[in-house]
């Protein structure tokens, strides 16, 4: 390939330097350095908005084996600030592959480093906790560190706004089609008239497309709204249920979202995933805190407290809900078996369910997709009850 790949460095804020070879764009990028232990699914990770503001380090050393393709994406673009790998494959082998991982990052303008001891980095983050880092072509660490200290720190800025959609749109499986919240496609209006299909509004804090796919697969019409959409704006879509999406960063920045949830709770069934789960928790007065190095991977064991069953889950979060000081009407429905952190909540008497992990997988095990069924059932029941109530009311007139 024509592109000559020169030296590139990862420099951590503690001054440690990891020299390697350029991967992707020749540019500089800072971000919170995090590792993910999944052995497959690098393209889904790269395009997962929850990585906004971060430098991603997969612990699996051979990245790019099966190339990249138009299908394995979870959002409109690559979302990580930079990508750091032990080695990248420039001769991928897969029927669907269209670009090497290098070309893919190059065309998306994302810089990276290849050929570094990613296990050493992982061990450092594990013991010292996540830290800021810079990926740079400059060979002078001092200069790099300066640039790093000048850059904004992850956790001090709201990343959600950057990754969320500008305006509401209806998900039709393909490219997002912008719409005015008033007028809706005649097709879906017909559906609704028939009362068959369910309408779900998804609050986009950094949604992964597979969440939308999982909903449509279950016969839902899906409308995606910006992270700061108010309760009224959402209700104006006349949804049967609301799903609060995952997303990057610290939930403390999401006061408007918290407000929105307060406005919706009791009115609609709500499912919160990852950041969405944290927003719900805060809405009911629970606290969140930052984990030392987060949960990122496809092998996190989660116990369903009701059934006692254990599920292997896909996870990607740096913050968690504090189990101390949980409001009385929020019950812990799921727990992490590694560190006993909260992995899911259920409201005592409202149709509200949340999970900290990713039932949509992609990447990761599909074991938890059943949770979408639960949500959809919940929504369906609620809808039937209300419409029944309405018709009874009608009859009594």
């Amino acid at each position: 390939m024509s592109d000559q790949r020169g030296d590139m460095y990862l420099v951590l804020e503690d001054g440690s330097v990891y020299p390697g070879r350029r991967l992707g764009a020749e540019a500089e990028a800072t971000g919170e350095v995090v590792f993910n232990t999944s052995m497959t699914g690098y393209q889904e990770m790269l395009t997962d908005p929850s990585y906004g503001g971060q430098i991603l380090v997969p612990t699996y050393p051979l990245i790019g084996n099966y190339g990249t393709n138009p299908a394995d994406v979870e959002s409109r673009q690559v979302q990580v600030n930079a990508f750091v790998v032990r080695s990248d494959c420039d001769e991928p082998s897969h029927p669907l592959s269209e670009w090497t991982i290098h070309d893919y990052l190059l065309h998306n303008g994302i810089p990276g480093v290849s050929g570094v001891d990613t296990r050493a980095i992982t061990r450092k983050l594990r013991s010292r906790g996540v830290m800021m880092g810079i990926v740079t072509p400059r060979s002078d660490p001092a200069a790099a560190l300066q640039a790093l200290s000048a850059a904004p720190r992850y956790g001090e800025v709201d990343v959600v706004d950057a990754v969320s959609t500008e305006q509401a749109y209806e998900w039709n499986g393909g490219a997002p089609a912008p719409i005015s919240s008033a007028a809706r496609s005649s097709a879906t209006q017909a559906n609704e008239a028939a009362g068959r299909r369910l309408r779900i509004v998804v609050s986009d804090y950094g949604v992964k497309q597979n969440i939308l796919r999982c909903l449509t697969k279950r016969g839902c019409d899906v409308t995606v709204v910006p992270d700061d959409a108010s309760a009224d704006e959402i209700l104006r879509h006349r949804p049967d249920g609301v799903l609060l999406s995952p997303g990057p960063g610290d939930p403390v920045f999401l006061d408007s979202a918290v407000e929105t949830v307060r406005g919706l709770s009791g009115k609609l069934p709500i499912m919160g995933i990852c950041l969405g789960h944290q927003v719900v928790a805060r809405a009911f007065g629970a606290n969140t805190f930052k984990l030392k190095f987060g949960h990122r991977g496809g092998n996190q064991p989660v116990k369903d407290m009701q059934t006692g069953r254990v599920y292997v889950t896909a996870q990607n979060h740096g913050y968690a809900v504090d189990s101390n000081g949980l409001p009385a009407d929020l019950r812990v429905s799921h727990m992490n078996l590694n560190d006993n952190t909260v992995e899911g909540l259920r409201h005592a008497n409202l149709p509200i369910m949340t999970i900290q992990y990713h039932s949509e997988a992609s990447p990761g095990p599909h074991d938890s997709e059943y949770l979408f069924d639960r949500f959809v059932e919940m929504v369906r029941e609620m809808k039937d009850r209300t419409s029944a109530a309405a018709s009874n009311g009608g009859a009594s007139l």
Binding site: S38, P61, H94, A120, S127
Partner: protein
């Protein structure tokens, strides 16, 4: 019903082992079984263990509460159950043997009768998984695709089915022996032929016509499920060799490399779906075929869109070879957890043994690449059919770990010890044109590299072979580095890149025209040293306490020197004929003995099937090739004490078989310390010349011998020492080719072929001494020797000690013979200054080559002079018989040796030098062969070892012991059998006793012409059978194949012709799995005993025999 459900926990559990090592069932089940026994006892459960294989850790008295070394048959195990009254049985740890036996016990109503509950996976689940039809039905129910197939009984049906399925089809005969008669048919013509074959080969005249998936990716998932229904994946694995080559014969990588997340999850979901459907409680192995990549697909019949992305090939509802590999590849102790699950524990209740903090309910994350390469026995069997297919042929395997596939592959190649050394090896015949074909055989990976070296593109190679381009391109990168090393001058960065691709110093030296030692020096000057990274199940996410490391060339080293009192144990590498599980047994005990004596043990080994590579066997494990480079690197990495001062740890080279011994010279040269007998002692014992002088000096007789470089010399030497002579090449070269030669013409023939194999080599010629062979293991402290016991072979000298039946104690040696042997052994130990173990083979001439053992023991002439003792060979190391002799004498040879090496004399250890008093028991070791799996290999016994495993029969008296040894090794002749005899002329005189015994025992005799004559001459009835296959009327082969005869005696003494005559007889017997005796002595022992005491044997725990 699941234990978890009703909270029942057993108090006493019967664990069934897997019996002798055979192809397809190797050391992995000792590893699994041992781990399981530990795991059960942790839970306060008593363990009753039965296994017929003495060379196992699991049959150590301290591994289980009650150890039975007895045949694995329903009657025997029923007697054990009756005696022990276990309330539970674990069926899924003893391989296919254990699984089948458990099913038979249940079908025989034994389990019900003594209400023994099956723990873990239930019999019904096992049936569902094993029975093709049931399995198919279940998978349809689950919506999981299986390749279309149908069972047929005529060629006509076959053709019809093939039309429906579409060509090509695989023909898989039902219930064939050794998978014979199968094949792939690309068109009706081929199918006619193959199906006809298959149908006749099948015992039930039935073949399965199945859609051919040759060329599809072959993927395995190791999965677990507990009684509560929690399911996890331990590891998935991708075969480099696509469908068509047995997974056991495939190069395998973990994790899969060419599957996207969507592919990976699709197969993961399917696998978990299946174990849920089967209600597995424990571990399970799922084999799947996945759609091939573009390049390969182009070469296959078009795959329609409607076709599924994958097919399920097979499920093994038990721990398996693959689960052992998965355990070692991930650090996740599958057998240990499976045992807990069998007790009703759920995954989330169990801690992750590696991190101690997290739980067992998770899926290991790898941050490295693992490569497994099988080890095939064709170096021993040059005449064998080396092609690989759907029938496994490998005896063992090696595993290597690194951060790139290229490096892991090259390290694995280095670990094989098959004379290839590295990927640079090429067969002489390839020199110009390259390999004749790229068909799968034991040299496939070298053929691929050679083809690419000669300019074939990786994609071309992939189209021809079906190997995914991802792998062939990796080979191309290796070849490309070869070219750079050849052309560019050796810079620091080039060296670093080469090391990161797994090139050894030797390889780099060869290519860059340096001596390996120069490369090493240069490398160290440049600071290019390996670092060691940990296998921790979690890709570094959590702190791990496991001391399990692999090398790579990167930034951070995680293996801080251990420091303190410590020693390195060199393991024995892959299981192969001549170096089996026994040496892993010795390595493991060496590690434990070190710990017992207060030092730490550092294990180096490359074999994933073993107990020695279990993460908690030693204080530290390096999963590395056993070659000079990696051993020296490890020694250097460990060479500082706790204060950082230089403190080189010593190595133990005595326990890892020839592999470890061979490293002694290199360590010596490098000036690295060796514990026990040092390099020069080892050389003295191994070097023929030096040993002869020593022996002569100390008056120890050896067979008259000489060497020759050409036929003339050979004829002269042989003439002087007299025929028959035993000839062998002076150094090993693809098969030892040791032969007993009867005549000058034969000598010339041998020389011609030997010279073709290796021009100009020296040939060693010994007088062949016909006599009783005796084997001695001893521990020597330089002053004194301790001999736990003497083992007398049933077969006369000339049958390799590893293939002989051995009897402890030496029942028919007289006092003076015993004394002479003890005396010689002591002299040799002292003369060589041995410190540690030694193994000696003697032959006693005079007094008859065959001496009975039983009641009718032929008394041997007493008083010296009449018989003469010669020493055949001294091995300055542990041996095949160490586990056997340690167990039957309760003298812990390895422990004593390790103590000796650390300076404690035999006397200080409280043992009296000399021969230990005999125990009041008799133990018989019998070899077991895997010939049915090795088409084209001749089965006759000779000086070259051929067996893959062994069993032991132990009892109060010889009769019971030998009967059980025969039963366990499949050589037992049922009462009133029909026996076919075909005896070489030279043996006829010797055979009279045997013939009479057979007749006396009430067997009916069949024989070929000459033999029949001789039998009639004795006035005994015999059915004469046509020998020539062409001949009219039923031939020898017919009466074997149609089951008329149930045992065969066919001897081969004489020239090549005699040998060839019997070949098809012996093969037929093997395929039919009936006893085939090629040594008169074995046959005679078998007949006499069975006649003497049919079935009259005890079934007792080992301890009872020892204490009786």
């Amino acid at each position: 019903m699941s234990l978890a459900a009703d909270g029942y926990t057993p108090k006493k559990v019967l664990v069934i082992g897997s019996g002798p090592i055979i192809i397809g069932q190797a050391a992995e089940f000792d590893y699994a079984g041992t781990q399981a026994c530990k795991s059960l006892r942790e839970e306060g459960v008593q363990v009753v263990l039965v296994n017929s294989n003495p060379a196992t850790i699991m049959t150590d008295e301290d591994v289980a509460d009650f150890v039975y070394i007895e045949p694995l048959t329903v009657p025997v195990v029923e007697r054990i159950i009756e005696r022990e009254r276990p309330d539970g049985i674990l069926a899924t740890l003893g391989g296919q043997t254990g699984l089948n036996l458990a099913v038979e016990l249940s079908e025989a109503g034994v389990l019900e009768k003594y209400n023994v509950r099956v723990l873990g996976t239930q019999i019904e689940s096992i049936r569902k998984a094993e029975d093709r039809e049931k399995f198919r039905a279940l998978l349809d129910e689950l919506g999981e695709p299986v390749p279309p197939s149908e069972a047929v009984e005529t060629v006509k049906e076959a053709l019809e089915v093939a039309e429906q399925i579409g060509y090509p089809v695989v023909v898989r005969p039902a219930y064939t022996l050794g998978g014979t008669g199968g094949g792939v048919a690309n068109d009706p013509v081929e199918l006619r032929r193959i199906a006809a074959n298959g149908i006749s080969a099948s015992l039930v005249n039935q073949v399965l016509i199945e859609k051919s998936l040759i060329g599809w990716k072959e993927i395995e998932y190791e999965v677990m499920r507990d009684g509560a229904g929690n399911t996890i994946t331990i590891c998935n694995m991708e075969n480099l060799d696509p469908m068509g080559v047995h997974t056991g014969d495939s190069i395998v990588v973990a994790p899969s490399q060419t599957l996207s997340d969507k592919d990976y999850q699709r197969l993961r979901t399917a696998s978990l779906n299946i174990i849920r459907g089967l209600e597995i409680e424990g571990g399970c192995n799922v084999q799947l075929a996945y759609r091939p990549g573009t390049e390969v697909a182009e070469t296959l019949p078009p795959i329609g869109d409607e076709e599924p992305m994958y097919y399920v090939i097979e499920v093994n509802p038990r721990v398996s070879r693959s689960s052992a590999l998965a355990s070692k590849a991930t650090g996740y102790p599958i057998a240990r957890i499976a045992a807990k699950i069998a007790l009703g524990k759920t995954l989330d209740e169990l801690p992750n043994a590696i991190t101690k903090k997290t739980t067992a309910a998770f899926e290991p994350a790898l941050d490295y690449c693992v490569v497994k390469i099988p080890r095939w026995p064709f170096d021993k069997f040059p005449t064998g059919d080396r092609r690989l297919g759907t029938q496994m042929k490998a005896t063992g395997e090696v595993m290597a770990i690194d951060r790139t596939f290229e490096a892991a592959l090259q390290k694995a190649v280095r670990s094989l010890e098959n004379g290839r050394g590295s990927l640079l090896w090429e067969d002489r015949s390839w020199s110009e044109a390259g390999p004749p074909d790229l068909e799968p055989d034991d040299d496939r990976i070298w053929k691929l590299a050679a083809a690419i070296r000669r300019g074939k593109t990786p994609e071309d190679v992939s189209r021809i072979t079906g190997v995914d381009p991802w792998f062939t391109r990796a080979l191309a990168r290796i070849v490309n580095m070869e070219k750079r090393l050849l052309s560019e001058d050796l810079s620091m960065s080039l060296m670093k890149s080469a090391k990161q691709l797994g090139f050894s110093d030797i390889q780099i030296g060869t290519l860059a025209d340096r001596l390996p030692e120069q490369v090493r020096e240069l490398r160290k000057d440049w600071g290019i040293l390996p670092v060691y990274k940990m296998v921790d199940t979690c890709a570094g996410e959590f702190e791990a306490t496991t001391p399990y490391f692999y090398s790579t060339y990167e930034q951070e080293n995680e293996a801080e020197p251990l420091g303190g009192n410590r020693a390195i144990v060199l393991g024995s590498g892959p299981i192969r004929i001549g170096q089996g599980i026994e040496f892993d047994y010795c390595s493991v005990h060496a590690a434990w003995a070190l710990q017992a004596s207060g030092s730490k043990s550092i294990m180096i080994n490359s074999n994933p099937e073993t107990v020695s590579t279990d993460f908690d066997t030693s204080d530290r494990l390096y999963f590395e090739p056993l070659d000079e480079e990696s051993v020296r690197n490890i020694v250097e990495n460990e060479a500082t004490d706790n204060d950082g001062d230089l403190d080189v740890p010593p190595s133990m080279v005595q326990f890892g078989g020839q592999t470890a011994i061979n490293l002694s010279q290199a360590l010596g040269v490098a000036g690295l310390p060796i514990l026990g007998s040092d390099a020069s002692v080892i050389d003295m014992a191994s070097d023929r010349g030096r040993f002869e002088q020593m022996a002569a000096r100390h008056g120890i007789p050896q067979p008259p011998a000489g060497t020759a470089r050409n036929a003339e010399q050979a004829l002269q030497v042989a003439g002087n020492i007299g025929y028959p002579v035993l000839v062998r090449p002076s150094y090993v070269l693809g098969g030892r080719a040791m032969e007993i030669v009867q005549s000058p013409t034969e000598i010339v023939r041998y020389f011609e072929s030997a010279m073709r194999a290796a021009p100009g080599q020296t040939i060693l010629i010994d007088r062949y001494l016909e006599g009783v062979e005796v084997e001695v293991d001893a521990v020597s402290d330089g002053e004194n020797v301790l001999i736990p016991g003497i083992m007398q072979h049933i077969e006369r000298a000339g049958v390799h000690s590893g293939d002989s039946m051995a009897v402890y104690p030496a029942l028919s040696l007289n006092e003076s013979e015993v004394n002479t042997i003890v005396d010689y052994t002591a002299r040799i130990g002292r003369a060589l200054g041995m410190r540690g173990l030694m193994n000696i083979q003697y032959v006693i001439t005079g007094g008859g080559a065959y001496r009975g053992f039983g009641a009718g023991r032929t008394p041997s002439p007493n008083g010296s002079g009449e018989t003469q003792v010669y020493v055949l060979e001294v091995n300055p190391r542990s041996s095949r018989t160490i586990p056997f002799i340690s167990k039957v004498t309760r003298i812990p040879m390895v422990r004593i040796a390790v103590e000796v090496m650390q300076g404690r004399s035999i006397i200080d250890q409280g043992y009296t030098p000399g021969l230990a008093p005999r125990r009041n028991l008799v133990a018989v070791k019998a070899p077991v062969f895997s010939m049915s799996k090795l088409t084209g290999v001749d089965t006759f016994l000779g000086p070259e070892m051929k067996s893959t495993g062994e069993v032991m029969g132990i009892d109060r008296e010889y009769e019971g012991a030998v009967a059980k040894a025969l039963i366990a090794s499949g050589l037992y002749i049922q009462d009133n059998s029909n026996v076919l005899l075909s005896i070489a002329d030279r043996d006829k005189a010797d055979a009279l006793g045997l013939v009479r015994a057979l007749a006396k025992a009430g067997h009916t005799l069949y024989a070929t012409g000459g033999t029949a004559e001789m039998i009639r001459a004795l006035g005994i009835d015999v059915h004469e059978v046509e020998k020539r296959l062409a001949g009219e009327g039923p031939t020898v082969v017919d009466i074997i194949e149609d089951g008329t005869v149930s045992a065969v005696v066919n001897t081969v003494t004489g020239d090549r012709r005699t040998l060839q005559d019997g070949f098809h007889i012996r093969r037929a017997a093997v395929e039919r799995r009936i006893p085939c005796f090629t040594a008169l002595d074995t046959a005679r022992a078998a007949v006499e005993t069975v006649h003497a005491g049919s079935q009259a044997y005890n079934v007792l725990p080992l301890a009872d025999y020892l204490e009786g």
